[in-house]
């Protein structure tokens, strides 16, 4: 019996073409796959997001998914240091400044409150925003693209195209007159540029780990801001590892912006280049929450008592958002005895609810979620105040 089986196996292994003629009982699978099939990083990212976000976001996920896979919407940050007719052209096409719209909405709301309120005491807006920032966006549902900005006679560009939701962290940071500001992960420089537009910054320190990205940051600032405002006493660009900032400078800044590296959901789904879901970067991706908590802690240490820290990411994952903030707050208390207060950004969300879609019922911070008619985001923000 055994001999028969051996011979039949030998015969069968040589006569592979007669697969169809051999009975199922005697068929032999010769080649077994040694590796998983090669999949591009974008597909890996999509599978990963489908698994995590369908549980986390529930019924919101299909709408967010289709928005992430479709073309994103940009906003044009206006450059106060340049004068150009581009701006008038844009406004003629129908763009509106969403920030002044939001402020207008707030005024009418508070006026109504005043009217209803029997007492003359008016309810001031509990949240202050950084001043002088203007950003034009096309109306809801309008998919027109912005043309690239053209330089004026001084060589400065009139507007900077970025995701309009990226401006929210800078607004929420509330940079007031003569504040010193630290931007811990500044490259490629959009948020740093927004901060400079407030014209209230006494001293800005922009840092990024990567040297190549820091040089890009320099180029961006040079294209938009006149040289007079980029002198050493006003601006310092560094390439240190942000996690060790706690050892370099403590209690030095009024405002700190920590815009951490994350899985950049939108980029990961659309571009294969430089994608954090590629196989070579698995370790890096797994250790992201740890890195993010360290960066936030360093930012907290760098803030003066009474100053504000703003944590922001461009991912939807609660693992990289709320969990990181909670861990950093806990570490700050345990290791350094620092007390922090979470400042609610609910008024901000209400102000801009016409322009952006915010995730409902977030227990910590606010999150802009992508939607086809308002394809901005995803952006997560959380504001902390250092009490001690």
């Amino acid at each position: 019996m055994g001999l028969f089986l051996d011979t039949s196996r030998v015969i069968l292994s040589r006569v592979k073409d007669l697969r169809a003629l051999t009975s199922k009982r005697h068929r032999v699978k010769g080649k077994w796959a040694a590796t998983h099939p090669k999949q591009p990083p974008t597909r890996m990212a999509l599978q990963h997001f489908d698994a995590t976000y369908s549980a986390q976001l529930g019924a919101l996920w299909p709408s967010i998914r289709v928005a992430l896979l479709s073309e994103r919407k940009y906003g044009a940050l206006l450059n106060h240091f340049s004068h150009n007719l581009d701006v008038e052209e844009l406004q003629a096409q129908g763009c509106k400044d969403f920030i002044s719209n939001g402020e207008g909405k707030l005024h009418t709301a508070s006026k109504r409150k005043l009217h209803d309120n029997l007492l003359l005491r008016s309810a001031p807006s509990p949240l202050r925003l950084s001043p002088n920032i203007r950003c034009l966006v096309f109306p809801r549902g309008d998919i027109t693209r912005f043309r690239p900005a053209r330089p004026d006679k001084f060589g400065l560009l009139s507007y900077y195209l970025l995701d309009a939701a990226s401006i929210l962290p800078c607004l929420a940071l509330d940079v007031q007159e003569s504040h010193t500001v630290l931007d811990l992960c500044a490259a490629p420089g959009g948020k740093a540029l927004v901060l400079l537009q407030t014209q209230s910054v006494r001293f800005l320190c922009a840092n990024d780990l990567s040297v190549s990205r820091t040089s890009r940051l320099k180029r961006v600032l040079q294209s938009y801001v006149p040289k007079a405002l980029l002198t050493d006493d006003k601006l310092r660009i560094t390439s240190f590892d942000g996690t060790i900032w706690g050892e370099i400078e403590r209690n030095a800044f009024d405002r700190v912006l920590v815009d951490v590296p994350c899985t950049t959901d939108r980029h990961s789904l659309m571009e294969d280049d430089n994608n954090i879901f590629s196989r070579s970067r698995v370790g890096e991706r797994r250790s992201l929450p740890q890195l993010q908590a360290e960066l936030l802690l360093a930012g907290i240490l760098a803030t003066c008592p009474g100053g504000d820290v703003l944590y922001s990411t461009c991912t939807l994952s609660a693992n990289q958002n709320q969990a990181v903030v909670q861990q950093a707050v806990q570490l700050a208390e345990e290791q350094h005895g620092i007390q922090l207060q979470v400042i609610s950004l609910c008024p901000l969300a209400q102000m801009f609810s016409n322009t952006f879609h915010f995730a409902p019922n977030l227990h910590l911070g606010e999150m802009v979620i992508p939607h086809l008619a308002a394809n901005f985001g995803p952006i997560y923000l959380c504001k902390l105040r250092r009490l001690t």
Partner: protein
Amino acid sequence: MGTRVVVLQVLRQKLNYVPNSTSIPVQFKTCKASNLPSSLSCRLLCSVSNLTPSLLQHNKRNSAELSLRSLLDMGFTEYQAEQLYDSVSRMKGGNAAKHVLSTLSVLFVLGLNPTTVHKLLDKCPELYTVKDVQLQQRITQLRHLGLVEGSLQRTVSHYPKILTVPMKSVKSVVQFLREKCLFTTQQVAEILRDSPAVVLEDLDQLEYKFQYVYFRMGVKQAEMVKCRLFRFSLDNVRCRHTFLERRGLYQTPDKKGQTTIINPKLDGILNVDEGTFTADVAQASPEEYDVFQKLLAREWKEEEFEHGSIESYSEDDEKEEEEEEDNEEEEETRGKSGYNKKKKK
């Protein structure tokens, strides 16, 4: 017996507009079909299909003129006859008037009643210009393709344009459907019956649509025929499917035909109006679908432009990020070239 009655009826109508000078022996009532003297009237008693050529000869010989009277005699009401007469008179070229009567007779022979014929010609005035011989040949071709009595009349009355299409194009479309798309003959007949506009479609577009639904959506031929896929435009199908796919509600089956989720049926996707589709199948708001359509239209336009410029480059242009090669297994189930899946899902 029934055919004889029809023949007699038609004959009576035809004879009515023959000028009074000609006299026809009234022998036809007693003649048998088999052994007939070669007289005009008896020839008219032969099988229905022979009627048309003999009528032609009859008409040519008598050079009958189109007139309201002749139309009324064919069975049209006064209003219909007037309309027909007007539209024929307005047609360019004097040939229309001569052939109209024979064209009309072919349609009657097909079994359509006068009201239907009038509606048909209203819908499709090009029919006036079709020669009756051609018309008859095309009808015969459709019969050979499987459009039997009943469905043939229905198809023609709903979509008269099918008779203005030359036989060659119909043949090429049918050949394409059978050989490249691997539809059975019965399925091809059903397609012609349900979506006759397919004969006028560009073959490339048709191929792309079939390949899209077969590979990207994983739908087989039987289901395609059942839900009348060819009634819908490619853009419509692509837009609805892409919306579902990007929302995560539709998955392309892998090489074993399996998916992680249950895909909605093709019928449920296409054969519903936009409101129901958006609300029930896609579970989205109408605003989202509107914006999505605009975005997708722009994406396609840019892809077309990109493909056009890639073709003009030489082979050393490697940046064809759009396409991924298909699995070998899928080639086994398909006749010829496989469809390339797009990278972005």
